[in-house]
Symmetry: C2
Subunit: 122 residues, 2 copies
């Protein structure tokens, strides 16, 4: 496990408009083309995925995901250009922050017990 875990959330009303879970789901929808397939790939119930999409769409100025119902393949969902932009922003922010915190927390991490440091500094 990484030495530090960072969770960045953007609260909106009572919900979280964007966070690690939603970002991951967004990426999965983009990859699979439907909420149901994305949910399955993440071992998440369809209902939960649908709820998350609903919250995301409500929290931003434009929808991140557009769904279509019916049709030969039953319908599907696509990540909008806007949604993709949000996703990229979020992912970049997450990485930048991780780098920042890792560097800023060196002193603190020094104080933790060193577990399984199989680091043969010969």
């Amino acid at each position: 496990m990484r030495p530090v875990k960072i969770k960045i959330q953007f609260p909106m009303d009572g919900d979280i408009a964007m966070g690690p879970g939603k970002a991951q789901l967004l990426a999965a929808i983009h990859q699979h083309g439907s909420i149901s397939a994305a949910a399955k790939s993440m071992h998440m119930s369809y209902k939960r995925a649908w709820d998350l999409v609903s919250v995301m769409n409500a929290g931003f100025k434009c929808p991140l995901v557009m769904t279509s119902v019916g049709g030969s393949h039953g319908g599907g969902a696509i990540v909008t250009e806007f949604g993709f932009k949000v996703l990229q922003h979020y992912q970049a922010l997450q990485i930048k922050t991780e780098v920042f915190v890792l560097s800023e927390s060196a002193d603190l991490r020094e104080l933790l017990v060193n577990k399984s440091e199989s680091d043969p500094v010969s």
Copy 2:
């Protein structure tokens, strides 16, 4: 609520050695001089507080909290010098990271719906 919520955790084995909740508890113990009083002040059960202290102490090279049992006042708990140092490091890190993320997420936050912006820019 703040526009962004950041949670920094330091995992250790299966537990979290330090996180927002533990930092807050540490501060409360320092203030009140006992685990039980600190727990009460945070509306937390004594058991939970005691468990958190136990995890904290196990995760660092030195104990952050030392307890004494019995005595005229029943006992108590004090935050060690080491624990206080950890607390200060953590709190400083939290603030620095908040500033960082807030500045780095300006573009993203621009895309959120503006809720209740009672901002009379006359």
